[in-house]
């Protein structure tokens, strides 16, 4: 692999209109990247591979070759790397997926550093339970040395990645825009953390905005980079299901967290389970999957509860309950109930996700 060839791939990647499928056809037509990039417009038109739009993009962007090469060099110096399919930094896992990208951009460590990977995916508008569970799974995975892959979206994605990072593990964020575009903006802290403690990957050229059409393609990289895909919460017909169908095409294993029958946020998970996804009914499932001996990650905690605390704790569920419902259920006066709940919260067994709305903490 020469640097010259890398630059050629970089230029080709920059012509975003020419996607992986067309690139594959072009390479098959010419046999090599260097010959491809030498072709004139007329020769390309003769090949009948590119449509008018692609040809126009090619004509518009090829004159900028020199500028792009400078950009490539600047990017490398700033830590925004490019790896073509020929590069040793190109993720091995991606090479054998259908429609794989011919070049990827990344910040941080290259994806081949991670021996074992799993993606944690799910809804953006998740429940508090789902978020906490994703965090916990991320944490546990990172403890047995598994890197957590996800899309850096709000909700489950970010929760799983934060779980892994906060437990000292690594995580990879796969973006729908360029690697230098933090999307969504709210996850800037996560983005910065991934730069130092993990990786950020995208097949889109630098500076490309996070276009809605890119996210479908982004999802195939998330599943492609992972050994297995863990779905925490998903509605029916969600983006998560796109990732799962890619994962099936790519032969990845799928774990789903089972949910309640009536919960629309788990409907997607339950549906996938009925179609044959593995049920994540216990954390040891995952430990076995990754052949980790570290099955006893569960740290049993013995917390003493007073009778009143016990009474309240028993009425709580995994769903959010307003203090008003608990008043009805327990029959305690407002003042007493509030102090019991505060004590439970301080003991770490109850979570007040939204003010005055309580639920039990997730214990695996």
């Amino acid at each position: 692999m020469s640097e010259h060839r890398e630059k050629l791939w970089y230029i080709l990647n920059y012509i975003a209109e020419i996607g992986p499928v067309t690139t594959q056809k072009l390479i098959e037509y010419t046999g090599d990247i260097e010959e491809l990039m030498e072709l004139s417009t007329d020769e390309l038109r003769e090949s009948n591979i590119l449509n008018d739009k692609m040809l126009r993009a090619w004509n518009d962007k090829r004159p900028m070759d020199d500028a792009l090469i400078r950009q490539y060099e600047e990017n490398e110096a700033m830590g925004m790397h490019f790896a073509s399919i020929e590069s040793e930094n190109y993720p091995e896992r991606l090479k054998n997926i259908p429609g794989h990208p011919y070049g990827i951009h990344y910040i941080g460590r290259n994806a081949n550093d991670y021996a074992r990977t799993a993606s944690i995916i799910g809804s953006r508008g998740c429940t508090g339970y789902g978020r906490e569970l994703a965090t916990e799974i991320g944490k546990r995975l990172s403890r047995i040395g598994v890197c957590v892959i996800s899309g850096m979206a709000l909700g489950i994605d970010a929760a799983g990645q934060w779980g892994a990072l906060n437990a000292g593990g690594a995580s990879v964020g796969v973006l729908g825009g360029g690697v230098d575009v933090c999307y969504p903006r709210e996850n800037m802290p996560l983005y910065e953390r991934l730069m130092s403690d993990g990786s950020i990957i995208s097949e889109q050229p630098c500076g490309c905005p996070a276009l809605p059409t890119n996210f479908r393609l982004r999802n195939r990289i998330i599943s492609g980079l992972s050994d297995c895909v863990i779905v925490v919460e998903a509605r029916k017909k969600s983006g998560t299901q796109i990732t799962v169908s890619y994962a099936l095409d790519q032969g990845r294993d799928i774990f789903c967290v089972p949910g309640r029958l009536t919960d629309p946020l788990s409907a997607g998970c339950n549906e996938m389970i009925s179609q044959g996804a593995r049920i994540l009914h216990d954390f040891s499932e995952l430990a076995q999957y990754f052949e980790s001996d570290d099955l006893n990650v569960n740290v049993a905690r013995n917390i003493e509860l007073s009778p009143a605390e016990m009474l309240v704790y028993e009425k709580l569920t995994d769903d959010l309950q307003h203090i008003e419902d608990l008043l009805m259920a327990t029959g305690l006066p407002v003042a007493d109930l509030m102090s019991v709940l505060l004590n439970l919260e301080i003991k770490g067994v109850v979570h007040q996700q939204i003010k005055n709305y309580f639920r039990r903490c997730v214990r695996l």
């Binding site: 429940t127 709210e186 301080i346 770490g348 939204i354």
Partner: protein, 511 residues
């Protein structure tokens, strides 16, 4: 000849004495009025001339000069017609000067000589009382209102003819007599809303009680139909009863705005003002070239309810900050500055998100960003002035079907509130404050000492809940009020933990 009559005008909510002088002398027939007059006062000329003619007196074609003194005070309002008419009649010799000694006159005249009601009777009569004037003549409709003032006999008369008759034969007329205290009680009993109307929402009721006891500002957050407005509307019914002084202050404000019903002497119930969220800044604070009291003054001694808080224009909300601290508003205008009381309790209500159903995720499709964006419309400085915040859940059928006779009535709650208020009054008798909500950092240290266990709990709670330092003082103030409600001298851990439950939402904690 010269005629002199006492009258008055209103600036702010206070009456100011004005001397009306009329001189009649030989010369070209003319009717001149001087004395820094607003146009409604200048127009009195035509009304007075015609009313005098239609009452049966003849105005000779002479030179009439009317002066309203002091000359540097702008004269506003419709109360000068009657004093001008009487001064003219004195000047023309129809009425002797001595009959208006010790008497103040106010009233608007119709062309036929009838007396029409005026705004600001109460402040004017109060001013008369302060100056030691014994008698006031007011239009018939304003009689009850004026009679509230002690030490001034108020005569409510129907037309100019009757006024002249009264001045000449005062012994024939009786002053209006009202029992202000009795009237206040009657007013209070006529309030229809009651807390027992509300089923369920025990936590919110408790928070409302605490808000009433410490005069804390409160914020309700809940989905549509959870009873936020219903709760707010009933807050005035559990606030301590108005004292006579408070009622008089309040009546003055309503009187100068012309909002006092004609047959009422006093505003007896604590006001509940609920300005719409499109309300302008001027309507809120008081506006105009000569400012009229705004919503915050009309809510004086009562509740200013801001429904749909995030929908309010930001500048409209930000102007509330200073009156919330100072308990009054000073409006500066070209002719001087006007001071209106604004001692109100702010009660706000809002939905938890744009669609209103968060955190019920089966109905709410707002993204977390949407929810936060909605909350962030409210500025932190305003939030800092809200001590209590309660989230109300949507009501289930079971709650609605509950027996309503089990609910506490407003009278029962008010009793508890008044006990707590009296404790505060006793505690702060050497301070310039009345309520726990007015405690500042220094006074908190003095009056709200925390024991070891309490400090430990607070420390743990701050740790576990990631609370901000801003919340600290608010929590202690609310805990102090809860302790007062329980009749406890010291703040205990249970008071504190309840207060923590009512803290204002922190932006980081939400969602």
């Amino acid at each position: 000849m010269l005629g002199k009559v006492l009258s008055g005008t209103v600036t702010g909510i206070e009456g100011v004495q004005v001397m009306v002088e009329a001189d009649i002398s030989d010369g070209l027939p003319q009717f001149d009025m001087v004395g820094f007059l607003a146009s409604e006062v200048k127009e009195a000329r035509e009304r007075v001339r015609t009313a005098i003619k239609n009452t049966g007196y003849i105005l000779e074609p002479k030179r009439y000069t009317i002066n309203l003194s002091p000359a540097n005070l702008r004269k506003e309002g419709n109360m000068f017609d009657l004093p001008i008419a009487v001064a003219v009649l004195i000047g023309s010799g129809a009425v002797p000067q001595r009959v208006v000694e010790d008497c103040m006159l106010f009233g608007e005249l119709g062309l036929d000589g009838t007396l029409r009601p005026i705004n600001g009777t109460l402040p004017l009569v109060t001013e008369a009382g302060r100056l030691g004037i014994k008698r006031c003549v007011v239009p018939y409709e304003n009689g009850m209102e004026g009679s509230v003032v002690d030490g001034v006999d108020v005569f409510a008369l129907k037309d100019l003819k009757e006024v002249i008759d009264y001045l000449l034969n005062p012994e024939k007329y009786c002053p209006v007599i009202t029992d202000a205290a009795e009237m206040l009680l009657k007013e209070m009993r006529s309030v229809k809303e009651d807390f027992s109307d509300i089923n369920g929402q025990l936590a919110a009721k408790r928070a409302t009680t605490i808000a009433a006891a410490g005069f804390h500002n409160i914020l309700y957050i809940g989905p549509p139909g959870s009873g936020k407005s219903m709760m707010a509307r009933r807050l005035p019914t559990i606030l301590p009863q108005l004292t006579l002084d408070e009622a008089i202050e309040l009546t003055k404000i309503y009187s100068i705005c012309g909002l006092l019903p004609r047959n009422k002497a006093l505003v007896g119930a604590r006001p509940f003002r609920s300005p719409h969220h499109t309300t302008s800044m001027q309507a809120m604070t008081g506006g105009g070239r000569v400012p009229k009291p705004g919503e915050i003054s009309l809510a004086d001694r009562g509740v200013l309810f801001l429904d749909e808080l995030p929908e309010f224009n930001n500048s409209t909300l930000e102007v509330l900050r200073q009156p919330l601290e100072d308990r009054e508003i000073v409006l500066a205008r070209v002719h001087g500055s006007y001071r209106y009381p604004a001692n109100f309790q702010m009660v706000a209500a809002m939905n938890p998100c744009k669609c209103g159903y968060y955190p019920d995720r089966t109905r709410c499709k707002c993204t977390t960003a949407d929810v936060n964006r909605y909350l962030q419309k409210i500025s932190q400085p305003l939030l800092d002035r809200i001590d209590l915040c309660i989230e109300m859940p949507k009501l289930e059928y079971d709650d609605l079907a509950l027996q309503s006779d089990k609910n506490e009535t407003s009278a029962q709650i008010r009793e508890k509130v008044e006990r707590a208020v009296n404790m505060q009054k006793e505690r702060y008798k050497n301070e310039s404050i009345l309520f726990n909500s007015q405690l500042n950092a220094k006074l908190i240290e003095k009056y709200c000492p925390l024991g070891e266990a309490e400090n430990k709990l607070l420390g743990e709670a701050f740790e576990a809940m990631n609370l901000s330092a801003r919340a600290y003082h608010r929590i202690i103030k609310v805990a102090r009020t809860i302790a007062d409600l329980e009749g406890s001298e010291s703040i205990t851990t249970s008071h504190l933990s309840e207060a923590i439950g009512y803290r204002t939402f922190d932006k980081e904690v939400w969602g």
